[in-house]
């Protein structure tokens, strides 16, 4: 948790705080933030910007607003989702899998690589990748932005060495061939924007727009 070297960009964290990212990207951000105290602090800083914006404007309420809210409260709290604790999958990912790492339904995706697509809205795709130790993943030619969060093992590519908790933010311009370390198999959460959609938005989001 303490030696994460590859972080999210401020613009991605701000867009997550504002609530404007596609669901799959939200998942990658939430998963990284679950493992990274630095990015969590930055995110909560951006939330404070949202709080300051909330403070600014007021709108008159309906006459029976408070009474209706109290009635709503009287109906009881919605069921709290059970927090899944898993040594590999951070809570938000385990939620999408519907269980721990053993519950993932892998499908072959080339030599030494398996994948499992997670159910998100279609504006972007989230999948778990299982790469056998020592295997190289051929450049899969993503067109937009790809976020790759390491959950187990490690991989290296032209951008550096990525271990559990590290996230690689790769834009269209990046040509990369990740190679899993020898030793442990590598498990990653990989998120890409679907071809043609968000194509213009997401690559820009990946740029470090905010200097803080």
């Amino acid at each position: 948790m303490t030696d994460i070297k590859h972080h999210l960009t401020d613009s991605l964290l701000m867009a997550y705080s504002a609530g404007t990212l596609p669901e799959a990207f939200n998942l990658a951000v939430a998963a990284h933030v679950s493992l990274c105290a630095d990015c969590r602090a930055t995110l909560e800083g951006f939330d404070a910007v949202g709080g300051a914006l909330l403070d600014e404007a007021r709108e008159p309420l309906a006459d029976d607003s408070l009474a209706k809210t109290m009635a709503l409260i009287g109906q009881g709290a919605p069921a709290v989702r059970q927090i899944r604790v898993d040594p590999v999958l951070p809570g938000p990912v385990a939620d999408y899998v519907g269980g721990g790492i053993e519950a993932v339904r892998w499908r072959p995706a080339g030599i030494g690589v398996r994948q499992a697509i997670l159910p998100t809205s279609s504006s972007a795709t989230a999948r778990l990748l299982h790469i056998k130790a020592g295997v190289a993943v051929p450049d899969h030619g993503h067109r937009g932005t790809e976020l790759t969060l390491v959950l187990q093992g490690a991989f290296s590519d032209e951008d550096g060495h990525f271990k559990r908790g590290d996230i690689e933010v790769a834009t269209e311009a990046v040509e990369h061939t990740p190679i899993a370390d020898t030793g442990d198999d590598c498990i990653c959460l990989a998120v890409t924007d679907a071809p043609l959609r968000f194509k213009s938005l997401i690559p820009r989001l990946a740029q470090p727009l905010f200097r803080i």
């Binding site: 404007t20 933030v33 300051a52 909330l54 939620d95």
Partner: protein
């Protein structure tokens, strides 16, 4: 905004809601925040009727989740903003909104009072800085949060003093981690 923050001890009101299910304390929180939540939702593009309904849902969540409010990590404005934003995502997009694992489980770590006050002060400063930004820059930040601006149009420098808030929150997170440790 800053005068409201100064007059009411929101962490104390939230404690009363959490510990005593105090309806008077909730009415005070409601009177202050409900009109703001409704305005926030309308600025995000919902009509008045939907914003009213959604706001009631947000405020009911404030009651039910009062035990999750940590005043050393967020002011009440910030915390309620996150609830309203999540509800907005559910409502407008029908997406799920994945949230980071919560750190507030484990042995309860009561936040030191001076941390709570310091975070309030930093947040007030942030609000003032936001209000004093040049109109064009301010407008861009608002649009980013209300979702009708491509982020590429935002200037590289926001000029917002997030640094101190971030280190303040970082300290609160470290305290929680130790408590869980």
């Amino acid at each position: 905004m800053s005068s409201d923050q100064g007059q009411t001890n929101w962490p104390l009101q939230m404690e009363k809601i959490r510990d005593a299910r105090d309806e008077a304390a909730f009415a005070a929180v409601f009177a202050h925040f409900a009109p703001r939540v409704k305005a926030f939702l309308m600025r995000s593009g919902t009509d008045a009727a939907m914003a009213e309904e959604c706001m009631q849902d947000v405020m009911a969540t404030v009651w039910h989740k009062a035990h999750l409010f940590d005043p050393s990590r967020a002011t009440l404005s910030t915390w309620i903003f996150t609830i309203a934003r999540n509800r907005k995502t559910d409502m407008l997009r029908r997406d799920r909104r994945p949230e980071p694992e919560d750190l507030t489980w484990g042995p309860e770590a009561e936040a030191p009072q001076e941390d709570v006050i310091a975070l309030q002060q930093e947040t007030t400063k942030l609000g003032q800085a936001l209000a004093m930004l040049p109109a064009k820059q301010r407008d861009l930040i608002e649009k980013a949060y209300f979702g009708d601006l491509s982020h590429s149009e935002i200037a590289a420098e926001t000029g917002l003093p997030l640094g101190t808030i971030k280190s303040r929150i970082r300290m609160a997170l470290d305290r929680l981690r130790h408590a869980m440790g």
